[in-house]
Amino acid sequence: MACLETMLAGSERVYRWLVKIYPKKFRAEHESEMIQHFRHLCQEQLADLRSTRMIGLWGHMFLDLAASAAIEHTRRRESMTVLDRDLRWDVRYGVQMLFKHSLWLLKYTAMALTGGAVAIVLAAWIWSGVRMWQKEKPVNAAWETLTAKSPEAYFQATLRQFPKSGMNETARQLEELTTRLGIFNPMPNRLYDGQRKNFVGPFDTLDAPTYVVSQSRKSTDDIEEAPAKLQDYLKNHRADLNALYSLVQRNETPRWETDIALLSRAPVPALFYHRQLHGLIALDILERTRKGETAAAQAALETSWKINQSLRERPEFLSQMVALSVLDLQTGVLRKMERVPDTWQKRIALAAWQESFWRAMELDAVAISREMTDTVTPVRSARWFDLLINSPLGRPLRRLAGVEMLEVSDEALSLIRNSSFCALSPQVAADRLEASHSNWSLGTQFAYTSYLRAWSRMMEAMTHLELTARVLEAKAARTSTTTSDWPKQLPQMKSSLLCAEAKWVHEIAPDGTIKLQCLNFPEWLNKVYPQSVPLEYSLKSKS
C-alpha cells in the first residue's frame, strides 16, 4: 500500500506541475478540480495493478493537456466567430491552431519534447513502482520458505544475535604485536584492505606466501627447508611470535568491531592483515613440524585456529570468505603433522562450515537488498547516475532493484541449499539464472554470480577439509597398529561426505607408501581450480 500511495503522490506532483501551462485565470478557477479529477483517475487505474493502464492514462493526459492548454491560450487572445468558439473545443482544432501560430507551435513543440522526456521518466517510474509492488510479496514469501523468516524478521533476528560491539583487548594487543612483527597494520580503521594502499611492510618483502602455499598444497608429508631469509625472520622474531601465541591461548578469542546495521559500510576485519598473520603462523608450523617439534607446531596451529574462529563466528559474508582462505592454509599444514588430538576431526567437520557459510550468504543477500531498498540512505557508487538513482524519481528503481536482488539471491541460495551441488556446476547454475532473469539492474547479476562463485570457492575449501579428514584418519589408524605397516582397511575410506558420486580409495605400494585418492569428483571443480583442489595424498611408511 505504501508503494501505491507513493506512486499516487508522485503522479499528482507531476500533474500539478504540468497544469501550470494553463493561463492563470483558468487555473484560479479550475486547478484544484482538475487535480482532484486526475487523482480519481489515477486511483481507478492503480486499482487494476497494471502498469500499462497508468501509461495509457498518462498518454491521454498529455494529449488533453496539450490540446486544451493551446485552446485556452488562443482563446484568451483571439476574437472568434460563434463557429470558431465551438470548434475550438475540438482537439483537432487545437492542433490546427498550433500550426497556424508559429510562435505557439515552437512553444508547444518544446513543451511536447519536455513532456515526452517527463513521460519516459514517469513511465519508468510507474513501471518500476507497479512491478515492485507486484513482486514484493511473493519474493518475501519465497524468502520465508527458505529461511522460515521474512527478510525483515531475518535481519532483525541477526541484529539481535550479533549486536553492535567493539574490538576487544585481545584483538588490540594482537594488532600491536603483529605490527612489531612487520605485518600490515590495519589500525586505525580496518575496513576491508582498502587502507593498504602502497603499504609494504617488512614481512611483505620476504615473499613468504610462495613458500608457504607451495608446501601446504604438496600432496605428501615432505616439507622443504624454508628459504634462509624466512628462517632468519623466524629466529629474529621468535620472542614476539611466542608472545603472540601466549596472548591468544591465555585470553579470550580476539574480536573485532561488528555493526551489521551499517550494511555495506559495516566494519569487517582487514583481509590482508589476516592472510599475512596466518601465513606467518603457517610458516612457523611448517618449520616446527619439519624439525619434529610437534608440540610447538600444535600450539601455533591452535593459535591460528582460535584467531580464525573469530572470523568464522562473524556474520558477514566477507569474513567467511577470509576465514575460508585461511582454512586452506591451516588444513595444508595440519595434514603434515604426525599426531594431532582427536578434537581436530570435529573441528574440520564439513557441516559446521557449510552452515556458517550459508548463514553469511543469507545475511549478505538481505543486507544488500535492504541497502538498495532503503531509499533514505543514498547509494554512493561514484557514477554519473547517482544523481538520478538517489533522486525521488530513482527511488522506485532502487526499490525494485532491491526486491529483484533478493529474488535472484533467494533462487541462487535455494539452489545451493537444495541441490546436489557436486552434480551442478556453478557456471551452469549461473547461466540458468541469467536466462530466467532480466538484467536491467547490474545488482541482480551480481547477486547470483557472487553467491555461486563463492559457493564454488567453498567447495574447494571443503575438498581440503575432506582430504585432511582422510589423512588424519589414516594416521590415527597407523598409530593404533603395533607394526610399522599401514592397516589393510581404513575406516570411512569409501564414501565422500561431500559428493555422493565420489569415493575415496587407498593403495599401499611395495615400499609401504600409502596413496589416498578421491575418484569421480565433479569435473567442473577440477576445471575451476585445476591447481588447488587436492584429491590425493601419499604417506610414507612408519619405518
Binding site: 494553463y22 483558468f26 478557477e29 479550475h30 484544484s32 478540480e33 482538475m34 482532484q36 479529477h37 486526475f38 480519481h40 491521454h60 493526459m61 494529449l63 488533453d64 493537456l65 490540446a67 486544451s68 492548454a69 485552446i71 485556452e72 460563434v82 468558439r85 465551438d86 470548434l87 473545443w89 475540438d90 482537439v91
Partner: protein, 126 residues
C-alpha cells in the same frame, strides 16, 4: 444597457464534448468527475473527457449561461464537500432541446434518403 436575449439556435451546432456534458447534466446535478464517468459509461468508454477539455468546456458553458454552479453542497458523509457541482440552467435546457431537435431532423433526413438500414437504425435506439 439591457443585454440582448439570445436564442438557443445561435449556439448550435454543439460540439460533441459540449453535447455530452449537457446530456450528463440533463437528469441530475453532477461534479466534473461525475460528468466524465457518466459520459464514459454511456458511450462504452468511447468518449473520455480529459480534465483540460472538460473544465475548459465547463468554463465556457458557465460563461454562456448554459450551466451554473450548484449552491447546494453535498452531504459530507456521502461525498467530498469540496467538490463543485454543476447543473443545467433553463437556457441550457432549451439549447439541449434545440440541439436534439436539430439532430432528430438530420436523422429524419437521413432516413428519408434510406441511408440507414433497419438494423442499423434499430441499433441506434437500443
Amino acid at each position: 444597457m439591457k443585454q440582448r436575449k439570445r436564442e438557443p439556435e445561435e449556439l448550435l451546432p454543439l460540439s460533441l464534448s459540449v453535447f455530452h456534458i449537457l446530456l450528463s447534466l440533463a437528469d441530475q446535478e453532477r461534479h466534473g468527475y461525475g460528468i466524465m464517468k457518466e459520459t464514459a459509461s454511456r458511450t462504452d468508454g468511447k468518449i473520455r473527457l480529459g480534465p483540460g477539455i472538460l473544465y475548459g468546456n465547463i468554463k465556457r458553458l458557465i460563461e454562456d449561461g448554459l450551466i451554473e454552479k450548484s449552491q447546494e453542497r453535498p452531504d459530507p458523509e456521502l461525498d467530498d464537500e469540496r467538490r463543485r457541482y454543476y447543473r443545467l440552467t433553463q437556457f441550457g435546457q432549451r439549447v439541449m432541446v434545440a440541439e436534439t431537435r436539430r439532430l432528430a431532423n438530420l436523422l429524419g433526413m437521413a432516413r428519408s434518403k434510406r441511408l440507414l438500414s433497419d438494423v442499423k437504425f434499430a441499433s441506434l435506439h437500443e
